[in-house]
């Protein structure tokens, strides 16, 4: 079976079993502090039944292949969490925008 012959419309971007990909490389990097926090946040959200592992996976799938390929593993999670928290009406986009400006200011990052 060629890995290229499936109808892309029938498949979710995460459903990778059997497709043709770039060559395998045995890559590993130590987790960055923010990546570990992001993972811990996922666990905390799961334990409070705010976002389950399955919801998190689907939120990443929903980003679409182009976005998924542009973002790193935990970047996808962070965006997925934001979208889910908006959809669940726990956080509004306005609140998040304000908070992000506040955090940026704390690190003396100039708004662009």
């Amino acid at each position: 079976m060629s890995g290229d012959n499936r109808d892309a419309a029938d498949w979710l971007p995460n459903d990778l079993g059997g497709i043709a990909t770039a060559p395998f490389e045995r890559v590993e990097h130590p987790m960055l502090p923010w990546e570990k926090r992001c993972h811990a946040l996922a666990d905390v959200l799961d334990s409070h039944k705010i976002i389950s592992t399955e919801e998190k996976r689907r939120s990443v799938e929903a980003l679409g292949e182009a976005t998924i390929n542009k973002l790193s593993y935990y970047e996808r999670w962070a965006v997925g969490f934001a979208n889910l928290l908006f959809a669940k009406r726990i956080i509004t986009p306005e609140e998040l925008a304000l908070k992000m400006s506040e955090v940026k200011a704390r690190f003396s990052i100039t708004e662009t």
Binding site: V27, L85, I91
Partner: protein
């Protein structure tokens, strides 16, 4: 609210540290959730401590016990989660642990084609390659060729069983006990067991004549 009253989830050592966009997003979400009372102020920090406490040494203890105690092995293969509890290893909510035994005729390999489900309770967090496309796509299509890239040659007369993990069901490989370890203590055995052997991407070699020394 003054700056000092904010809940900071982490402090960076250097004053000139500049987080990227997604880190700012992560910090912002976490702070908003704390401010709204959805999560506790110190829960993320505590969970990081839990993450740091999980590592492949836990899986290695399970494997070494199974090699040393046939009854424990039976219980481990029957119900991984319960057997973990015997050794004081707790699982995550709702996750089942299925332990797959390598034998003379079967080699097991674990993958998560959909994302990155992994037996975190006993191995910690997965390596990058486990989460990346090539491993996930190829493990289920041509595991024998993929294993060769790890330097693992599985002869054609040994079946390769590939198990695809999910959020609820996690798999751990019970590697074959290396030859030359008959007199090893459980602790010595545990020191031989590697993370990758419990994912199934490598096999454990036989041990040379000096007891207790890993090859």
């Amino acid at each position: 609210m003054g700056e000092h009253e904010h809940v900071h989830l982490d402090t960076e050592g250097s004053g000139d540290y500049t987080p990227g966009y997604y880190e700012i997003l992560e910090r912002s979400l976490a702070e908003l959730l704390v401010e709204k009372g959805r999560i506790g102020a110190h829960e993320v920090r505590r969970e990081i401590e839990v993450l740091d406490s999980r590592n492949p040494a836990l899986g290695a203890r399970l494997v070494a016990r199974a090699w040393s105690d046939a009854n424990f092995k039976k219980r481990l293969l029957a119900n991984g989660r319960q057997a973990c509890e015997e050794l004081g290893i707790t699982s995550y909510e709702d996750t089942e642990l299925i332990v797959l035994e390598n034998t003379e005729t079967v080699h097991n390999l674990v993958v998560c084609t959909l994302c990155s489900c992994y037996p975190r309770a006993v191995l910690g967090l997965p390596p990058d390659w486990y989460k990346l496309k090539p491993y996930r796509a190829r493990a289920v299509k041509d595991p024998r060729a993929l294993l060769k890239e790890f330097g693992t040659i599985i002869p054609d007369d040994i079946a390769i069983h590939v198990s695809d993990a999910t959020a609820q069901v996690r798999y751990l490989v019970l590697p074959r006990r290396p030859a030359g370890t008959d007199n090893f203590t459980e602790e010595e055995l545990a020191s031989l067991v590697t993370r990758d052997s419990m994912i199934g991407v490598v096999q454990l070699g036989s041990v040379p004549s000096t007891p207790g020394v890993a090859p």
